[in-house]
Symmetry: C2
Subunit: 183 residues, 2 copies
């Protein structure tokens, strides 16, 4: 069984996942409106994930979180630069310069079932190689007006299938798309 | 009463409303999957519209439609270039070089209640002046990978309120957002 590559990410209505400088303060602000006990499906999603793949920018963002949010799960950081990793109990970090396809092949051989692919550039690189299986996208009701985009150019179009969608009373919408096999 | 400026538009999941060359074949293809009798709220929306504002690109697109889709409704085409308009019974076309604010002020004085603002560049120019009241955005389950964007840069962010959302069995999702008064 090949490792499934999955996306779970929030974006502004105008398609930005962070400000130009990488800041996600606007997302933190929006998250503050979420009532206690609601997590927009994050825990359910994470319960299916046995490995994470992210870029350096995303790693540097989450490295500041306390506690470490991926306790006990393997995290592969795709980076062409050397990285000094956070260390601690439950932190399983490694750097890789592999292509998305090579990395997924290796993880598949190691028995990993579902990878959480995170970060704009890494998601885009997986999409360019048509390696994303599903995407859950939560849209925050804001136009940021500038920033780092979730989607960028692709060599060719990709048809998707809407698997589910929902909206939340605090104004978020969420949709899960599956990549179509031959589109 | 000021004329309300409203958006009703379809976009690919990656935020494109047309291909680089303006083509909307992908949207026509997607629309072919809509069952008879379903119009994604378009007729209801149009029933509230007494004037349309669009850019030259959009006009040139719709000018090819037969019959003319805005029969009996005034259509203002914002263009800095001279235009040769289609003529015929029920066609009320005029060109304008006004700013969004000037145009809306004039339409308000003339008693127009709700303007349908259409076309990427025109929508963006209205957003930059914070003149959009509401946006109904239908998301088509496709990544186009390139094209003309619905949203571009804004001088500052704009908070929105999700007024309603729904999904369709053929894979479209639709959300209506209201601009927040002071955000």
């Amino acid at each position: 069984m090949a490792t499934t590559a999955s996306v779970y990410i929030a974006t502004s209505l105008d398609g930005f996942i962070a400000r130009e400088n990488g800041a996600i303060d606007w997302l933190m602000d929006a998250n503050a409106s979420i009532p206690p006990g609601e997590d927009c499906g994050y825990a359910d999603f994470m319960s299916t994930i046995d490995v994470l793949i992210m870029g350096r920018n995303t790693y540097e963002q989450v490295a500041q979180f306390d506690p470490w949010p991926y306790d006990g799960r393997r995290v592969v950081v795709l980076s062409s630069r050397a990285l000094v990793f956070r260390r601690g109990a439950g932190i399983q970090l490694e750097a890789s310069t592999e292509s998305p396809r090579s990395l997924l092949t290796r993880l598949s051989a190691q028995g990993y079932k579902r990878a959480y692919v995170d970060g704009g550039q890494v998601i885009q690189s997986f999409l360019r190689e048509r390696l994303i299986h599903d995407m859950t996208i939560t849209t925050i009701p804001i136009l940021l007006g500038s920033g780092r985009r979730l989607f960028d150019t692709l060599p060719r179009e990709m048809k998707l299938r809407l698997a589910s969608s929902k909206s939340f009373e605090f104004g978020f919408t969420q949709a899960t798309y599956l990549a179509c096999a031959d589109a």
